[in-house]
């Protein structure tokens, strides 16, 4: 039977089941998208309250409360701008690319709703310029909306530099204003003075997709999954000692054991787990066993949910060698702006190489510990802090590997390159 376009086929998705964000149906086109999710309401200031009641936090890495940011932008006197952050500079994360490829309209809906809620006529969608499929998907979706919807907000798509710190919100704003994609000294923060000096709401792509569902189905619905402190679902990117690596949608609070299990892995096959991306940190498998995937639990365990990366390191791969190559990569990804980071990160990377080479007298490790403490909290952005956390977690998690290297008896694989270290691009 023919279906009319006036009545949305779906009035609500179940509050307690997955998937929410990544449906099995093909929802790339606007028609099928509306069939699956229904039409969106108009965004208003009331949406900010609903987002607050939902307890939505940013899924880009920092986990900042979304409503707080929205309210701050809405308070600004000038007309605001919304920036969709789909740059996803974290090398092990592909969830924002997946989100924008599978359901681009959900992300754009969230952006339009946020724009209406904070009074922004313009939306800038930023994507890693090397993510061709993502760019194409969003380009097509934006064109489709301009033709088939009566939306008043304007979308502009921008292909951003693929540097690790380029997606940090002040860096992204600086780049959109014509500068290098490098973090800037705050204050002012983007919510005060961002793109073209206007109050700017920078939100991660997945976060906006959640927002689009909250606007449709409400805060109570959103809280139908997840925990009281970390409500809702989340995308995670799983890699390593699993049968099926890739992007999964999970309820927050899912036991890590179950996550590995659904991906065809297990703790037995795992030496250590990297959670949250390169800024999260390693956990030895025994420390990881009791954990659940949510910000609160992971923070208490000295880790972070970050952007939802889970890498299971197999026993046969040397975690020290993998981490030394990431430390070198993170050092090369410093923006060359802040002294402690410019000097400290290469020094740290050098000391990591020394551990790999066999730190006979323990000097490198001593220096490493000194420098880890020295760089933290001393930059325009959190790049030095994140690197320090990653390296500190390497030293504690792979004490046995460090000892084996000291004695020249590490028999694990040194050429796996499980952790990606993509070639650096430009800053413009």
């Amino acid at each position: 039977m023919a279906r009319t376009a006036v009545e949305p086929a779906v009035t609500s998705l179940s509050a307690h089941t997955l998937p929410r964000l990544l449906p099995h149906d093909d929802v790339r086109g606007l028609g099928p998208f509306l069939d699956h999710f229904g039409t969106r309401p108009r965004g208003s200031a009331a949406l900010i309250g609903e987002v607050e009641r939902a307890g939505l936090r940013g899924h880009g890495g920092a986990g900042f409360p979304t409503a707080t940011k929205m309210a701050a932008v809405a308070r600004g006197r000038r007309r605001a701008v919304v920036v969709v952050n789909a740059t996803e500079g974290e090398p092990m994360s592909t969830k924002d690319k997946a989100m924008c490829s599978v359901a681009p309209h959900l992300v754009l809906d969230g952006a339009a709703l946020a724009a209406e809620a904070v009074g922004a006529p313009d939306i800038v969608v930023c994507v890693d310029r090397h993510a061709r499929a993502t760019l194409q998907s969003l380009h097509r979706a934006i064109a489709e909306r301009a033709t088939y919807t009566s939306e008043r907000v304007g979308f502009r798509l921008e292909a951003a530099p693929n540097r690790y710190v380029a997606g940090e919100e002040t860096a992204l704003v600086h780049w959109l204003n014509g500068g290098d994609a490098k973090p800037t000294f705050v204050p002012p923060r983007p919510f005060e003075k961002g793109v073209n000096g206007r109050p700017t709401l920078v939100q991660n792509a997945e976060t906006l997709a959640h927002l689009a569902l909250i606007a449709r189905f409400g805060a109570r619905w959103f809280r139908g999954l997840g925990t009281a402190d970390d409500p809702g679902s989340s995308l995670v990117t799983v890699a390593g000692a699993v049968g099926q690596s890739g992007v999964y949608e999970i309820p927050l609070g899912l036991p890590l054991r179950d996550m590995l299990g659904s991906a065809g892995g297990s703790f037995d096959k795992t030496r250590a787990v990297l959670i949250g991306g390169y800024f999260g940190g390693w956990l030895p498998v025994d420390a990881a066993r009791p954990l659940t995937l949510d910000g609160t639990t992971l923070r208490n365990a000295g880790s972070a949910f970050g952007c939802g990366v889970v890498v299971a390191l197999p026993h046969q791969t040397c975690g020290l060698v993998e981490s030394a190559s990431v430390a070198r990569w993170l050092a090369n990804e410093n923006a060359g702006q802040c002294g402690p980071c410019m000097n400290g990160l290469p020094a740290i990377a050098h000391a990591m190489d020394a551990l790999v080479a066999g730190d006979r007298n323990g000097n490198a490790q001593k220096h490493l510990e000194r420098w880890i403490a020295m760089v933290s909290g001393r930059g325009a952005c959190k790049h030095p802090d994140g690197t320090a956390r990653f390296v500190a977690s390497t030293v504690t998690t792979f004490a046995e590997e460090i000892e084996d290297h000291r004695r020249g008896r590490c028999r694990r694989s040194h050429s796996t390159r499980l952790l990606a270290t993509p070639a650096p691009g430009g800053w413009r």
Binding site: P183, C338, P340, R378, A380
Partner: protein, 68 residues
Amino acid sequence: MSKTHIVVNWTTCVGHGMCAELVPELIRLDDWGYPIVDPRAVPPELEAHVKRAVEMCPTLALLVQETN
């Protein structure tokens, strides 16, 4: 009453080290010559010294921030 804290603008600091000369009680230098600042509030007896260090910084990278 408001308190003041020393803040470094890391993107403009180039490590002249003047601040550590002027207020050694609160600022020392790291292994590369960049300031490590005491995170506590500036005690009243050092306020004049801190003010001088802020004014003397060649790149204007040293700031004081008022916190309540």
